[in-house]
Symmetry: D2
């Protein structure tokens, strides 16, 4: 941390600040300017800057950020690329994960998986355990849902991402999913994060609705510190005063995270806007801004979805969006699923 | 929900909206005005207003709030008073819970408990499991900490409140604490809330850092719906653009919650401001605004606290604050610990 | 407005609400459901919903938005296209306005204008009167600055947009600029807006840093109501808790405004991010999301700019960005300056 | 500013940062730690930290705040007390300013003034020019309104505070009011602030709805820098995600401002909550937190007020609030109008 003394601070006050910093285990450097004294404190821990802030003569304490290390680009300058079979997340190709909010029935899962695969998605998304803000809403099919999702993913040559809400579900989900999703509300469920650090499956960590980018990277650090290096981040909207959209999708988080960290960053425009008619513009914006991938809700029959139908695309809308994205990606030197199934002539 | 049609909506569009609403299970009422048509939809479920919002001719869908029932004052007009031995939370007396952020050692717990009891606190607060945003920070003493806290509480005739972070800790904490605290980051950990609904100990539910009051009451609903009626709410600051204080303590939440709900509402000015010198003004403000209680960090030696020392009061500051609060409480017809230990002549 | 009564509201309470609404000049429609009564109130004015909210038995009052009329797409379904000479804003072409934050000297203005024209910008941006949050910062060259900007614009076949901060500056700026810019801090300077409604020059209205989209459109309404139909909107970032970027650029405002209003909507990624390295990603995102134009700070020597150098692009960065945008625009059926000067071989 | 270099920064990068800082006019101090180098830069100007932030090898630039000087407590350690006749703002007595939102008629102004005087207010508040977000709302009586307010103030031995929206109104308002109010939307209308710096009447500067405390003090600095030392600040709610109350009244701003600045700080709970039933709790909270005064809307007939009736107190509610405040003020060593007119039996 850096301590800025008041203009009229006495030497005694300055000495007392230095003593406090040394007591906290810092290396201390004093710079005496014509106007004021600035004291730099660097050390193995971050310490609590507020303890110094309250000492007499202190004008301000500036905190050096980034208590995260493993998630930082300083620690690892080159991009992390996460490999799951033939799918590479964080490489040249923009990866699209798509599918229904929740698994509801065999037909629904099958139809949705077929549709997203046809359009070029590489990964099937779908929930079996649903975090719902009301105790009276649909809570998911549980393990039956996972079984349906895995079956459809396998039939259509898709990988599977699904959300884990609690460590008690972890063992079950590990048997079915290729990527473990941590929802926004669990971004600071540290018990869960620590447990995910012990698994060896990739984790998709959504940004909390009011999490700063620094807090988000610190949560990634929990997983990385446990020994699991395959963490991808997913922006899904932050809470602001604007209420027209459910949340405000923070597109600028994409280039910011890419500067600070080596981890891949995806965007979920479905939760980020909460409205079907805003998903395509924001998906295009995310790819144009440089996102490594997208997470999109697509449902074979959104009007009768048990959850989030209003933000799910119809398959035909998703087809059209994928075509638009294929035009945009080359502007930043990337591609999107250049060889979708339909073009390979598999008899379909 | 209430559907407002556009001025130029056709009758066909109106019929189509009505059909959708009926299909969603609503009772529908149509009001045709000179300017526009308004359709009221009331039913057993809330439905997803966004499904209607996207239909042609719809200008706007207004959502009727309060999917919570048990937490609502409509459901229960009189105040809930939670009784723990001789302590009553939600009654005429403003209850003060105080103590260190974390249990650190026997001496520290004992000295802090003695100090807060002497000043008039009725409940000892203290953490054994700490949620820390960095994986490299002090994480608490675990069960050893709980044992120290329980011992000190018993010696000083205090009740004990302590935080539960995960269902795996629940059984242990239940053996020691009188009140189970749910931290801000866990306000929407629905698995945990559901489990707390099955216990029979009072729960103190902190407001999430970016939770609306409606979401907060919905989380209380999860606990109430499980059969546990003893829920108290605790405001502890929301995240805003202002960064001088760690969070912005939303004092207005006190009268708002008291109008909407029958549950007691407390305030935590320590976490709400994050700075020792702002704790007393905000504690006074909370009582003046009508809070049913306070949760305050007091440490026998804040400068050497292992966590949150910067926001912990010295015992002498806490004494003075309690004296100020005793002047304020009568302004709203309440009292604060009329017979503190010190005045009883310590033989008790 | 729509009034939702409590479940246990008495008939007397309902009658009293209806009487209040009629007294406020509303047409009233009552819907009695099995659970609760809903009262629709439609009328010539919007009224103050809070007056009803406080009546006994009222659960909630839902406000029908859009007190704006002229700015609404209901009022005018087709897009507004603003024509300035051969430049059309709001048509098929995405219009780029670029140039320095402030006019500083003849050389600087000339070099910047030449650079942006060469890359394909159609409109020169540049300030002569600067709103600065500190009274000790550079405040602009005033009319001298305007003269320099006009000269450079004319020499390079560019239109000119410049900010007006106060009605006292209006007459002067009207003599030089083609478009009058209203800054974010003045979005609710109603005296100024009303005066701009009386001019016959196009107005670029920036969104206030904490303005909702509804408030923004209401401010446009002030100008439209005065008889000036040529209003374009410009998103430039909103204030949120995230402090890594100066503001959070709300890209989703683009499709939202385009649904609600017929007015063109532009984006300013320079002020929206405050950092040069984030301008290009956000400019690409804006075009991908459907923006009608961009406002970008380009300076011939950003490191020595008197204001906002840190968010100004170097000319070479701007060239590259324009090339990227030309790839993206067709994805949504638009173009960006298909025939830039340099390609026409005008001897340059 | 303080520049924190990356752990692996080269000496060449460090030299290049130092050269840039020297070129910007700073005194530079280099601290080389075992982990990283920290460079302190102190100088007469603040400079734009972002210019340094983008240099190679820079991890982070920490800005030293407080470009305000005259408003700072460092500059003037003792409290500013503003004297208007026998009224002292910023002294031991908490000053209450009360009255209707707008002057509407002679009867309304007279009745409201009589009521607030009787209860103990010292200053009459009332608007003649109203900033309204919709161009179709009541815009105030103008100079006629000022005349009514002045007359009532004189008859009841009250001072008068009224809002100035634009420099064109300044001359007129100066003839009637004792205190010039700057509304939240004008907090960064720098042209107006500079003009107010040239007057010799006290100014009440409301905090902008999304202004940080630092920006608020910088706006005060504009007025102080012009030579007008009588500036009082007024918190009136900030915009947050919570929408139950119109704004979130930031009570913690009171102790924060009192630490940073010597200027008096008042609170407006009427605009800060927007709801009559929340005014009294928040007024009590403000006094308990240490506010130097209150600005409260009181109307003789709120249900028929032309503006803001929903947040105006009935005279009887105001009486009761004043009685509660008289109990609270002594808790922090202050008083509130100990001898109200009515009790003195002046025959009036």
């Amino acid at each position: 941390m850096v301590v800025v003394m008041q203009e009229r601070a006495t030497d005694e006050q300055i000495q007392s600040v230095i003593a406090q910093l040394v007591g906290m285990g810092f290396d201390v450097h004093r710079s005496t300017g014509s106007l004021r004294t600035v004291i730099g404190a660097v050390g193995p821990t971050t310490g609590d800057p507020r303890l110094v802030e309250m000492l007499d003569g202190v004008k301000e304490v500036l905190r050096i950020t980034e208590p995260y290390k493993l998630a930082s680009r300083t620690f690892r300058p080159e991009n992390t690329v996460i490999t799951i079979g033939d799918v590479r997340i964080g490489g040249d190709e923009v990866i699209v994960m798509a599918g229904p909010c929740s698994a509801e029935s065999e037909e629904q899962v099958e139809a949705s998986a077929a549709a997203v695969r046809r359009a070029g998605a590489k990964i099937l998304r779908g929930g079996a355990y649903k975090p719902r803000s009301s105790p009276y809403s649909f809570q998911g099919l549980g393990e039956d849902g996972l079984r349906l999702l895995r079956g459809a993913a396998d039939r259509h040559n898709l990988k599977l991402v699904s959300e884990v809400m609690d460590i008690s579900q972890l063992e079950t989900i590990l048997r079915y999913a290729d990527i473990l999703q941590v929802g926004a509300r669990n971004m600071q469920n540290f018990t869960l994060l620590r447990e995910l650090g012990r698994t060896r499956k990739p984790v998709l960590l959504k940004r909390g609705i009011s999490a700063t980018i620094e807090e988000w990277l610190l949560s990634a650090e929990y997983i990385l510190a446990g020994g699991n290096a395959d963490v991808m981040l997913c922006e899904r909207g932050i809470r602001t005063f604007e209420s027209y959209t459910r949340n405000t999708l923070d597109i600028s988080a994409i280039p910011v995270v890419q500067k600070l960290s080596h981890l891949p960053v995806l965007v979920d425009p479905s939760h980020g806007t909460g409205r079907r008619d805003k998903v395509a513009p924001m998906a295009r914006a995310a790819v144009a801004a440089g996102a490594d991938g997208l997470l999109i809700e697509v449902h074979c029959d959104p009007d009768h979805a048990l959850s989030d139908g209003a933000q799910s695309l119809f398959p035909s809308q998703f087809d059209r969006l994928m075509a638009e994205l294929r035009i945009i990606a080359p502007a930043i030197g990337r591609s999107i699923c250049l060889e979708p199934v339909a073009r390979r002539g598999w008899g379909t």
